[in-house]
């Protein structure tokens, strides 16, 4: 009877811990979301790191305050968190403890005598240890922090070809390596169903038969100089928005473009008035897709090119590890079975909507299957190492092991920006707690998913794209990225914080607030295309525009600006 009572206590404690962990992880995600939406630089690598560090701190604070009842404080709880994982657009961060290592070699050292070129022959570690006891970092320190970004990448070998493909949360890939004897560093979106027709001097782009158009985009923004919230025309390039200043009382600056960074206005050169991001998205996706398909191809301008890669026969069986060994399934004794780990199907199964396999951007395409397999393999491998290594850092005598995640949980991780937290080794009487929590959310600057585009109608409401009210609706106005309906804040140089909504429309009650009237489609592309009309045009244009405008590490802002008619 006593045993039963104890077991009940243990189980009750376990469920209460699960809930607390869920709540703490959600707090961490919310912190990340708020920071990315409100910061002008959230997509740049170092400020993304700052946002994630802040989010990790929120997690530990929240864990500490949630668990305070049980008598644990933040520092003690840190001992029980072997890893926090932040999955991002094209890779992920693992937050866990590591040993700080200073450079031990004597090469590449600092020149100490300019004239003779004599270098300091000491290693960094020796220099730092030389009586400098106040240094922040010491050799061999154990620090918790973010480990280097790991891309969702996989190495493939095929004949003499040896290259790495980096996948992302959508159909954007990066290829680096040797293909056909050439060094290749290329990236782009894979999209089927694009038609380009030229008649005279005009070129028209169609996606799934829907014409894509140029547009003018505008939104409300806090103008720090005027201390007002004004509706300006804008274009977004590599994650940064450039606004066109319009003020008839200010003749010198009227019509100039500017960007805002930390509450300060920076004047820029001139851009084109039309936002052609959507057309560029489909045009560049067309060229990149052709390149992957064939070695010799006809590009979007109708010119025959010879720099294609021809990767349609690449299969999952070509995947190798960092040592060049084929990735194979292992049996229970850890022996190689000869079965390819990542499948034996052609990865790039192009086709149009009429082909039996569907298009490459469809959820059930081979490409998507490979993408998910690579992401999962990469996370599983690195995370289990991080958690196993935690045994070397933790003062707790628990054996840290990676729990087995369920299939539906992987599903969530593979398609969304997510935070996975682990809490292990707490004694809950009779057994040791080993829990984890996965919280996912796509409402951030990281990714533009098919669900991220909202449709604005002329009655000043915004809807989900699969809202049944939009079918056959003639009042459709424009497509907008979901985070532009979120409240933003900006602080000017006088320290005044203003709150504003970039798009001031109201959420539709049946699709945004309560979501009772939405079509539950699995394939957004197909659903939208089959409805056609203004809805499809607005949706595909907005999806292309937002995907083309989002920040990507591969992008070069200066080159992109020129594409939008930039005159310094």
């Amino acid at each position: 009877m006593l045993i039963l009572g104890n077991q009940i206590k243990t189980l009750n404690l376990q469920i209460s811990y699960d809930t607390k962990l869920n709540n703490a992880t959600y707090d961490a995600l919310k912190a990340f979301q708020l920071n990315t939406i409100n910061s002008d630089t959230s997509d740049l690598a170092n400020s993304k790191l700052r946002d994630i560090e802040a989010s990790a701190n929120t997690f530990f604070n929240s864990v500490a305050s949630n668990f305070n009842m049980a008598g644990y404080n933040q520092d003690i709880l840190k001992e029980y968190v072997p890893a926090l994982v932040y999955t991002m657009y094209d890779g992920y961060y693992i937050y866990s403890p590591y040993t700080n290592t200073l450079d031990d070699t004597n090469s590449n050292e600092v020149i100490i005598n300019e004239t003779t070129g004599e270098t300091d022959q000491q290693s960094d570690a020796e220099i730092l240890n030389e009586g400098n006891t106040d240094a922040t970092y010491k050799e061999g320190d154990k620090i918790s922090g973010l480990k280097p970004y790991i891309y969702y990448s996989c190495r493939y070998q095929r004949g003499t070809d040896d290259f790495v493909i980096t996948y992302s949360l959508d159909n954007y890939i990066t290829i680096q390596g040797t293909i056909n004897g050439q060094w290749v560093y290329d990236y782009g979106y894979l999209l089927d169903n694009i038609n380009i027709t030229t008649s005279g001097s005009s070129v028209s782009y169609r996606y799934r038969g829907i014409p894509i158009l140029n547009e003018e985009t505008s939104e409300y923004v806090y103008d720090p100089d005027r201390d007002e919230i004004v509706n300006y025309q804008y274009i977004k390039i590599n994650g940064v928005k450039y606004y066109k200043y319009e003020n008839e009382n200010d003749a010198t600056n009227n019509g100039k473009w500017f960007s805002i960074l930390n509450g300060t206005k920076y004047w820029q050169g001139q851009f084109d008035d039309t936002n052609s991001a959507a057309i560029k998205y489909y045009q560049e996706a067309y060229d990149f897709t052709q390149k992957i398909k064939n070695k010799t191809y006809i590009d979007s301008n109708g010119v025959t090119q010879n720099d294609g890669y021809g990767l349609t026969d690449l299969t999952g069986a070509n995947a190798v590890d960092e040592d060049g060994n084929r990735l194979e399934e292992l049996d229970e004794n850890g022996n190689r079975t000869g079965i390819p780990k990542l499948g034996n199907y052609p990865i790039f199964d192009f086709g149009d909507t009429n082909s039996p396999d569907g298009s490459i951007e469809d959820q059930d395409s081979n490409f998507n299957q490979q993408r998910l397999a690579v992401i999962r393999y990469s996370i599983e491998k690195n995370l289990s190492i991080a958690i196993a290594n935690y045994n070397n850092y933790s003062g707790v005598t628990a054996n840290f092991q990676m729990p087995e995640l369920k299939e539906d949980e992987w599903e969530k991780i593979l398609n969304n920006v997510s935070i996975i937290s682990f809490l292990q080794g707490l004694n809950i009487g009779g057994k040791v707690y080993n829990g984890y929590s996965i919280i996912t959310n796509n409402k951030n600057e990281e990714v533009v998913s098919e669900d991220s585009i909202y449709i604005v109608t002329n009655d000043n409401q915004y809807h989900k794209a699969n809202d049944n009210d939009l079918v056959g609706n003639t009042n459709i106005n424009k497509g907008i990225l979901n985070i532009d309906f979120e409240r933003k804040s900006n602080t000017n140089s006088n320290g005044i914080t203003r709150y504003f909504y970039p798009q001031e429309n109201l959420g539709c009650y049946t699709s945004i607030v309560s979501q009772t009237n939405v079509n539950s489609t699995d394939n957004m592309y197909e659903y939208i295309a089959s409805n056609g009309g203004t809805l499809a045009q607005v949706y595909f244009t907005a999806l292309g525009r937002e995907r083309y405008s989002m920040y990507k590490t591969n992008n070069n802002s200066d080159e992109l600006k020129v594409k939008f008619g930039y005159i310094p």
Binding site: I439, Y501, V518
Partner: protein, 174 residues
């Protein structure tokens, strides 16, 4: 004569001590186990709805099935507070220094079940979902207790669980 009476009383007392009290303690433990099952199932159910943003008839039936496996009948009350951001949006747009306000409207069990019959109920980030479970039958331990001392009142449940929390994901993508 007096001996016989004492013997009868002794037998009666012995019967109560040997049978009724162990039975009571055992049935009490059964209720404890039921209580644990119900508490676990409720927490899991609510947390699942919270983190997926989806409530389906399937999930609900499984939950009811789980708690019914304890052999008791239960009254399940659900409550969904739907966040309506629009009022906050109107005020902040007018006055840009105001941080905003959250307004919720509420759906209760019967409304939720009505929606479930015609499909999935999708929740969104920021909504609040809660479930409250109480037993409606009289469990064995309650019967035994009523036999010794009667507990009166309408709400004489012994097994109850409650869990609530904020929804963390959108049920229909974003």
């Amino acid at each position: 004569m007096g001996d016989t009476l004492i013997t009868v009383i002794a037998i009666g007392l012995a019967a109560v001590l040997m049978f009724v009290f162990p039975l009571m303690t055992m049935s009490d433990r059964t209720d404890d186990v039921s209580q644990l099952t119900v508490a676990t199932a409720t927490t899991e159910f609510v947390d699942d709805v919270r983190t997926t943003g989806k409530l389906t008839m399937d999930k609900y039936s499984k939950f009811v099935e789980n708690i019914s496996s304890t052999g008791n009948s239960y009254d399940v009350e659900m409550e969904l507070q739907v966040l309506d951001e629009n009022p906050g949006k109107k005020t902040t747009q007018a006055e840009s220094t105001k941080i905003g306000e959250n307004v919720y409207y509420t759906m209760y069990t019967s409304q939720i079940l009505e929606t479930l019959e015609s499909g999935t109920l999708a929740l969104k980030e920021g909504d609040i979902f809660s479930a409250n479970v109480k037993n409606t039958n009289t469990t064995l331990s309650q019967q035994l207790k009523n036999f010794l001392y009667s507990v009166t009142g309408n709400d004489t449940y012994t097994i109850a669980a409650e869990h609530a929390g904020i929804v963390t994901a959108n049920g229909t993508g974003n």
